[in-house]
């Protein structure tokens, strides 16, 4: 039962109060995009065994979507942050790097 802190309302919510939303920071490709870009947007997933950035909604709470950096192998949560960003905050990336020197980094 995962526990994630909602960055908006500060509730340390358990999984049952949340809804998972898949990989974060996907760039949308709409009309006019190439086949490759569109396929990548809809289907290609990093699915890492390790550090992962993902979407969660505080569904039974404030209703807001937020993003989390989490290890899919140990379930360690490095941090959560608001969804209104195209990439993870630099300080969070730095924190993860420090904890997981072998991590290849975001991208």
């Amino acid at each position: 039962m995962l526990i994630l802190e909602c960055p908006y309302c500060g509730v340390k919510a358990e999984e049952s109060e949340l809804a998972a939303g898949g990989e974060a920071h996907l760039k949308r490709f709409g009309a006019g995009s190439t086949d490759e870009d569109f396929e990548g947007y809809l289907f290609a997933r990093k699915n890492p065994k390790g550090v992962h950035f993902e979407r969660w909604r505080h569904a039974y709470g404030c209703g807001k979507w937020f993003l989390a950096a989490r290890c899919t192998a140990t379930l360690e949560v490095f941090g959560t942050y608001p969804a209104q960003t195209a990439e993870p905050p630099a300080d969070l990336v730095a924190k993860i790097k420090q904890k997981r020197p072998e991590w290849e980094g975001y991208k």
Binding site: A20, F43, N47, P48, K49
Partner: protein, 414 residues
């Protein structure tokens, strides 16, 4: 290979069972093979087996990071059925079912295939219509299924509550040929047969890299050194993304945990497999007497193989509503399996960007029932470059939007 039979048992009984041979050998790797399969789960072993049996290709190694059959093959709820809606799915799952029907004899290993019948309950009008559609589709696919009325459901499953106040049973999709098999035995039986053909099953051997030249694989780096191969098959379920990453391509896959549990054993009370999709649960009774219960998948990426409680709770309350007698049984054990889900929840049996590298993955929650058919198709694809059973399951379908979507009938779980 010494054949298994009741006579062999009797003979061995007289000498304290000291004469039994190893079921499979534990050889040192060769420098080169014609084919390497990564992954000694059911699908990988079945692929190797049919490469040998159907195409005479026996210079094969099956490489396994842990112990054979130790992934989802040994963690699933052992349901076998082929009542799928879409033609490509029905074709491969029914091929698998037909192979299961003779698998014990084929492998000379009793996999305890038990065609006890499988019911999928319809508990909403929408489900009724979805299953009626499936019955019609199955009829044209050569898959015998029937629609049965609630009274018949009750007759087949006396412990069911068909008049639940919330979701009365409105009927069911009934596949008499569906059932279960002993999951471990499927892996062990294939392994023994592969080993008997001279194939190498290399357990506790981890692939750490895929070596390639000019767009083709030349071999794999492993914890036991480099091993060369002419063709490579990747059959590693939840870890497909990692191995594909070594080979330099990406897959439309996500790994999530599927929850399952068993109860303590009780005397026989349910002779069929029952799936109730509206309330998200399915249940059968093992030959030992345990109620084997499958639940939902967690909705986030997870590689831990641990059980969680969130979905177990949902599954159990639904099953208590459907089978009130289980309320006073006890959960004995719960666990999670890592399942690889594709964008349309149907599998991938496909060529890859590397000419001599093939992949079989994405079985999601439905892999066990497909093992023989999947191995059959994958072997043909690897041997011939084309397999009718695999034709629709290519990686290219995502780009084209050509989904094989099984959820359309009635939100059917695999």
């Amino acid at each position: 290979m010494k054949r298994y039979s009741v006579f062999a048992i009797a003979r061995e009984a007289m000498r304290h069972h000291t004469g039994w041979e190893r079921a499979w050998a534990s050889p040192e790797p060769k420098a080169n093979y014609d084919v390497i399969i990564i992954g000694a789960g059911g699908h990988g072993l079945a692929t190797a087996y049919y490469l040998g049996k159907n195409f005479g290709i026996t210079n094969v190694a099956v490489i396994e990071k842990g112990w054979l059959g130790g992934g989802n093959t040994g963690r699933n709820t052992t349901i076998i059925r082929s009542n799928y809606l879409q033609d490509p799915s029905a074709a491969i799952y029914d091929k698998a079912l037909k192979l299961y029907e003779n698998l014990s004899q084929d492998l000379n290993y009793n996999v305890m295939f038990s065609p006890r019948g499988l019911l999928m309950l319809a508990q909403t009008h929408h489900e009724v219509r979805g299953y009626l559609r499936t019955v019609h589709a199955n009829n044209l696919q050569g898959v015998a299924t029937e629609w049965i009325e609630p009274a018949k459901v009750k007759e087949i499953v006396p412990i069911i509550n068909i008049d639940g106040p919330r979701y009365p049973v409105l009927g069911a999709l009934w596949q008499r040929r569906g059932g279960t098999a002993r999951h471990d035995a499927v892996a062990w039986g294939y392994a023994r047969a592969c080993s008997d053909m001279g194939m190498h099953i290399l357990q506790k051997t981890e692939v750490t890299g895929v070596r390639q030249e000019n767009g083709a694989v030349t071999g794999v780096e492993t914890s036991r050194g480099f091993i060369g191969t002419k063709k490579l098959g990747i059959v590693v379920a939840g870890h497909s993304g990692q191995v594909a990453g070594m080979a330099g391509f990406r897959l439309p896959l996500e790994a999530v945990a599927l929850q399952a549990l068993v109860s303590e054993p009780i005397k026989p009370c349910m002779d069929v497999v029952v799936m109730a999709n509206t309330v998200h649960g399915y249940m059968s009774q093992s030959d030992k007497g345990e109620m084997v219960i499958g639940g939902g998948t967690d909705s986030f990426n997870n590689f831990t193989q641990r059980g969680s409680f969130h979905h177990i709770e949902e599954t159990l309350r639904a099953l208590v509503e459907t089978f009130p007698m289980i309320s006073r049984l006890k959960m004995l054990r719960q666990w999670g399996g890592i399942v690889d889900m594709t964008g349309d929840r149907s599998p991938i049996i496909s060529k890859t960007p590397l000419g001599n590298c093939f992949i079989n993955c994405g079985w999601g929650t439905g892999g066990f029932k497909a093992i023989p058919g999947s191995g059959w198709a994958m072997a043909e694809l690897m041997a011939r470059g084309h397999a009718p059973l695999a034709a629709e399951f290519g990686l290219d379908r995502f780009r084209e939007g050509r989904f094989i979507d099984e959820s359309v009938a009635a939100g059917v779980a695999h």
